[in-house]
């Protein structure tokens, strides 16, 4: 049975917020971005055909919204580093966002990734979307999703080791 808007909003609001954040929308823009997502959801909900899960559908909308924000920022001379807040959060052991070091660390790594790999990391490792639907989102084969996720894990490991070496 299709979900109504209210139920969708209640159940998936946090998911859309997290997705936008991980996709690099700066903290100051997150309220606007998440609002845009839900306005789009409302406009399109009656056209949702159930060919994907709601989460995947919402992820795609959030991704489009994040892309719009990136374009808007570039056009208006904003920062091109899309996750300053996350970078700041991971600036060091005494960072201002104490207690969210894990988020900061992952944010730093996400900022090293190009868009497809960032989308893959967020969809598969952070939000654990269905591999088939991630493949559809990225226009790749399902098997490639698994391979690329494994590569991402190895990249993260190498990045951590290199980061530590550089700090010494």
């Amino acid at each position: 049975m299709p979900l109504g808007f209210e139920a969708l909003y209640r159940d998936h609001f946090d998911f859309t917020y997290r997705t936008l954040q991980h996709l690099g929308v700066p903290a100051a823009s997150l309220p606007d971005a998440v609002q845009e997502v839900w306005l789009a959801v409302h406009q399109q909900l009656n056209r949702f055909e159930g060919r994907s899960t709601y989460r995947t559908w919402l992820f795609a909308i959030a991704l489009n919204t994040a892309r719009n924000h990136w374009r808007w920022q570039r056009r208006h001379g904003g920062t091109t580093d899309l996750s300053d807040d996350l970078v700041d959060a991971a600036a060091g052991p005494e960072q201002q966002h104490a207690g969210r070091e894990a988020l900061g660390l992952v944010g730093q790594f996400l900022n090293t990734l190009d868009e497809p790999r960032r989308v893959l990391f967020v969809s598969q490792l952070l939000e654990e979307l269905n591999a088939d639907e991630t493949a559809q989102l990225l226009g790749i084969e399902r098997q490639q999703v698994y391979h690329r996720v494994r590569d991402l894990r190895r990249s993260f490991k190498r990045w951590l080791a290199a980061r530590e070496a550089a700090a010494q």
Binding site: E6, D14, R18, L30, G99
Partner: protein, 289 residues
């Protein structure tokens, strides 16, 4: 006992020198933590909800009264579940309450009228004012259960119309006109309705007049709470955030470019102002444009 975020980071850093399997296990534990750390602040859900409802009022159009029982969103009759979401006096009134909370009021002070979906304000709600307003003005939150009245919807609509007019005047480099429009708005609608947008717009007009000190006095407090104000980041780049704003950044009337010979600071402020106006326009305009 669960590990702290920092412990998980340290464990992952150690695992970076271990085998892949150990690293993956450590990474999975860290990612689980990240999911919880990335959740939105507790009040954002209601703030966005309120903004969606403001959009709903906008979609009802300026010339039509907003129906209380029909779907309001985007002014399009839509027998969808969203209609049910917005349907009913209680929900609508609660939405307006929360919308006003978005405009710099404190949710806690309104708890009595929001809680339980009961829209009736049996006792006057206390709402902090962000600027001077005639004492005789009746606040939409101030008396006799007015929140339950559809008359508040036109108040919000009037505020939005005035704001848009003032912002257009700013774009036309007519700060005096913008200030007059904001004064007219103050005379018609209580200060708590879209207070933040009004404050920012007025501050920008003062910047345009070269009165940076007044702009800072008016809107400087918004810079101190960047997580609460969607405009803080951009406002910081305007004359409000420039501690040493020596001169007016005002551009010549009817000019679409910055003042000839304008300083780098003037250029920066101009861009900041345009960005702020864009932000406010995005928040108060039709997203389906």
């Amino acid at each position: 006992m669960s590990q702290s975020s920092r412990d998980l980071v340290l464990a992952l850093q150690r695992a970076a020198h271990a085998d892949d399997e150990a690293f993956d296990a450590s990474l999975d534990r860290l990612l689980e933590q990240v999911r919880s750390e990335a959740d939105p602040p507790p009040d954002l859900h209601t703030r966005v909800d309120a903004r969606l409802r403001i959009e709903a009022v906008l979609r009802a159009g300026p010339s039509r009264p907003a129906p209380l029982t029909a779907p309001l969103v985007f002014g399009t009759p839509r027998p969808s579940s969203l209609g049910a979401w917005l349907r009913g006096l209680g929900l609508l009134a609660s939405g307006i309450v929360i919308g006003l909370v978005w405009s710099q009021t404190r949710l806690g002070e309104l708890g009595g009228s929001v809680g339980g979906g009961a829209p009736r304000a049996s006792t006057p709600a206390s709402v902090p004012s962000t600027g001077p307003a005639p004492a005789s003005l009746a606040s939409p939150l101030a008396s006799d259960g007015a929140l339950a009245s559809p008359s508040n919807i036109p108040s919000l609509r009037v505020a939005l119309e005035h704001l848009r007019r003032a912002q257009s005047q700013l774009r036309e480099h007519a700060p005096d006109g913008a200030l007059a429009t904001l004064d007219a708005l103050d005379a018609r609608v209580g200060p708590e309705v879209l207070a933040e947008e009004r404050t920012v717009t007025r501050a920008l007009a003062l910047c345009d007049r070269g009165d940076a000190a007044s702009a800072r006095a008016l809107a400087g407090h918004l810079l101190e709470r960047s997580h609460a104000s969607a405009y803080a980041a951009s406002l910081r780049e305007s004359c409000v955030g420039k501690q040493a704003a020596p001169t007016s950044t005002r551009a010549p009337a009817r000019s679409s470019t910055r003042a000839p010979g304008g300083s780098a600071h003037g250029e920066s402020s101009h861009i900041a102002r345009e960005r702020l106006l864009d932000e406010m326009r995005r928040r108060t305009s039709n997203p389906s444009r």
